[in-house]
């Protein structure tokens, strides 16, 4: 894709050939296993984790995680602290060897080919770190020889847009400015893949907004593939097209955000009747049923027709179905009480 401003048609053209959701849901278990050709294609995608396990002592920090990103994907890897995100990201960056499984970048083993692969990957680490006395401009000069291409004027332009003084020592920049320098450095070599590890942690709302605007500009100009870990779910909802949720080292789900939001609903019942619970069961609710002043339940595979039938039944009168934000879905799946969401679990009357 051209580096200059891109017209609508070029962008749209780069989107339509995107792999349909079904082709990369559980790619390794499903589509890939079905045909060796598909497996080879997925293996050459910008990023693929193949059944990665990381064991510390007797504990699996990452437990058989497989996921893959086609060209141009913006993937959000979500999880509570300690869910295994950092260990997984270290494997993907070739900084850590998986106990089992492997990480592939552009089809090559991230651990064995780290040095060559990292020249094609832009990284914004969790804690941007640089010698405190070195300025942003000096950092760029240090990084430049490590990459086959380096967009020096783009780097300077980004610093100006971020309002970061290029000649101020790194140690005297604010946390937000340090994050902005890290992004400007990561984008300067025009990487095909960006790995952003909680890049906006500790940034204020204005700095965060500037960070994402710059990232969005790069997506528009170059169609960069992005893996992002973050707790900023409102931003993820707008920017990522797919999300994976890690809990206890396992990937709870790996799905397009649009589809995820389509299938989750909160169902509210204003005045529960004696038969309401049984009637709600017809919607296969997953999760808590509260009996305070009304009944609330979570439906994981919402079906409009079944819900309308429920509304028309005597026990469903006045029922409302409200969509969930990504944050609400995340809390429902990983927060307290989420064990009741395990398949087959009964709703827990309180």
């Amino acid at each position: 894709m051209s580096l200059t401003a891109v017209s609508v048609s070029t962008i749209a053209g780069s989107i339509s050939p995107k792999v349909p959701a079904a082709a990369f849901t559980n790619a390794h278990a499903g589509a890939a296993a079905a045909s060796p050709g598909a497996a080879a294609r997925i293996a050459a995608w910008p990023l693929a984790a193949e059944a990665i396990t990381v064991r510390y002592g007797r504990r699996n920090a990452v437990d058989g995680v497989s996921l893959s990103l086609p060209e141009g994907a913006v993937y959000a890897l979500l999880g509570r602290n300690g869910a295994g995100k950092s260990s997984l990201v270290r494997c993907l960056l070739g900084q850590q060897r998986a106990t089992a499984g492997r990480a592939l970048l552009f089809g090559r083993d991230a651990w064995r080919h780290r040095a060559t692969l990292m020249a094609q990957v832009g990284v914004v680490p969790e804690q941007p770190d640089a010698p405190p006395g070195v300025t942003a401009r000096q950092l760029a000069r240090l990084c430049r020889p490590l990459y086959p291409c380096w967009d020096g004027s783009g780097f300077e332009a980004r610093l100006r847009r971020f309002d970061v003084p290029a000649d101020r020592p790194f140690g005297r920049l604010s946390k937000g400015q340090q994050g902005h320098v890290a992004l400007a450095l990561a984008l300067a070599p025009h990487p095909r893949l960006l790995i952003l590890d909680d890049p906006t942690l500790g940034l204020d709302a204005v700095a965060r907004r500037a960070f994402f605007e710059e990232l969005i500009g790069d997506l528009a100009d170059r169609g960069t593939t992005v893996l992002l870990t973050t707790h900023d779910l409102a931003a993820v909802e707008r920017i990522a097209d797919r999300a994976g949720i890690l809990a206890g080292g396992r990937l709870l789900l790996d799905e397009e955000i649009e589809r995820l939001k389509q299938r989750f609903r909160h169902i509210w019942l204003p005045s529960p009747t004696p038969g309401a619970d049984a009637a709600l069961d017809a919607l296969s609710p997953r999760g808590r049923v509260r009996r305070n002043w009304r009944v609330e339940t979570l439906v994981e595979n919402f079906d409009e027709e079944r819900f309308q039938a429920f509304q028309a039944s005597p026990s469903g009168a006045g029922a409302e179905a409200s969509p969930l934000t990504l944050e609400e879905i995340f809390v429902a799946l990983t927060g307290e009480g989420s064990r009741q969401l395990a398949p087959g679990a009964e709703g827990d009357p309180r």
Binding site: V6, S9, I11, I15, I216, L219, R238, K261, L326
Partner: protein
């Protein structure tokens, strides 16, 4: 774009559809007149803080429907003669948004008269010149979550 719109995370519609319908509404209402220039994908994506692919999808659908016209190298414009939305579509969209507002007002225990008066007051406020308003929300979206 003179009139702005917002993306609502609690809206069950996908973001590309929210963008598509907001632009359609702005065109239908005349806020975006025929042949008017619309922001580039890059510009609108940055403005709304959404993935450019999402904006591109909305624009592509609008171009396919003849609402927008893409002139290569020149940008994106409202079509010279954009298709008018039918009375039926218009009524349907108004009812959808009215349902949101009505449900919200009902949870507050507002009467029909109260709800209608609040709507009328907001309507008059929007008709005032910009800068004189209390709320900058576009005419496309009203009401709150149900």
């Amino acid at each position: 774009m003179n009139a702005t719109f917002r993306i609502d995370a609690s809206d069950p519609r996908p973001i590309w559809r929210q963008i598509e319908e907001s632009v359609r509404n702005l065109v239908a209402s005349g806020a975006l007149p025929p042949s008017a220039s619309v922001p580039s994908v890059r510009e609108l994506a940055r403005g709304l803080a959404v993935n450019p692919a999402t904006v591109a999808k909305a624009y592509q659908r609008l171009a396919d429907a003849g609402v927008l016209a893409v002139r290569r190298g020149d940008g994106t414009f409202v079509a010279a003669a954009p298709p008018a939305i039918t009375g039926e579509q218009r009524g349907e969209r108004l009812r959808t948004e009215a349902l949101r507002y009505a449900s919200f007002a009902a949870t507050l225990g507002a009467s029909l008269e109260e709800a209608a008066a609040a709507l009328a007051a907001t309507w008059r406020d929007l008709a005032r010149p910009p800068g004189d308003r209390e709320d900058e929300a576009g005419p496309a979206r009203k009401g709150g979550p149900t």
